[in-house]
Symmetry: C2
Subunit: 185 residues, 2 copies
């Protein structure tokens, strides 16, 4: 698109903690309107989320403590990309740390963002197939409970386990769609 | 589940800006491991996202400037719930402000979260049907470009418009699934 972008006239870091950095940004929109927005800056290398699918079209999920909601939640394995790692290398490592499995096939599926209007965070979603047992010690405070669920009825998984994380739901549906389009192979 | 939760031993606000508040939380996990996590606290009332569907199964989408990525993005109408508003009232208002349409039918579909491991943000997703022209002045810095897309091929919308927001993708798929289950009505 050739639509002109708002002009950024000032960017200032207004808060910084161990893991968060907040910026204040002054903007002038193409119509002349001036605004000040805040945005949260992401960690330098982004993150990965892994949809590991067994030969029986089951997906590996974990129950992990969610600090935001103070409860255990069913989710997909994921984690930050370490320095020097590619997204696929990070996916292989996280899968081994969180699920005790390695994958002979890793397929980059898509990237998912959080809240583009005030965050620049993104996560690489990677499909993992041809799995084999392979565990590696991670930095989890406790062992994660591993579960497998059928990818055939995503609505059922979501409703039974009360899954509400947008990225997890998006990754499950997009994987289902990808597998449907690539199952003739 | 009867699984014991980690014990929170201290919660301190470590940063506060106009729209963000960061907390530091000390935890003791059931196995005795102690951790300090950070989390971002949400605005008090949460937000709404509206999937407005026409009688021809087209969904209303807008192109809006995304401060996180410094570009215009195709997204669903959404916004914060105002004081004293219910989620459905906020959905009706945002739809009129951002799309110039009202809805005679509003159906609460689900709630979506961002990153449960370090945020407690959630958004109510509302399906809007039986639409009629009705516009209201909002607080947008510029008029939003309105587009309609067929709900039949979500993968096509996502790929053509490079949609990456997890919540938008999740809301489109869950709406498609809801409509498929309720189309006999």
């Amino acid at each position: 698109m050739t639509r002109p972008l708002p002009r950024i006239t000032r960017t200032t870091t207004v808060a910084r903690t161990r893991i968060f950095r907040v910026e204040e940004v002054d903007l002038t929109f193409p119509n002349g309107v001036q605004c000040t927005f805040e945005r949260l800056r992401r960690p330098p290398r982004g993150a990965v989320m892994i949809v590991a699918v067994t030969e029986h079209q089951q997906v590996l999920m974990i129950r992990e403590y969610a600090m935001g909601f103070e409860r255990y939640e069913l989710t997909l394995p994921k984690g930050a990309i370490d320095e020097g790692e590619s997204p696929l290398e990070a996916a292989q490592r996280e899968l081994q740390e969180e699920c005790g499995m390695g994958a002979r096939e890793l397929i980059p599926l898509c990237r998912l963002s959080l809240a583009p209007s005030y965050m620049d965070h993104f996560m690489h979603v990677v499909i993992a197939r041809d799995l084999y047992p392979a565990s590696r010690q991670g930095d989890e405070p406790e062992p994660l409970a591993l579960e497998t669920h059928s990818l055939k009825d995503i609505e059922e998984i979501i409703e039974e386990a009360d899954i509400h994380e947008g990225r997890v739901i998006a990754a499950l549906y997009r994987t289902q769609s990808w597998l449907a389009r690539h199952s003739q192979g």
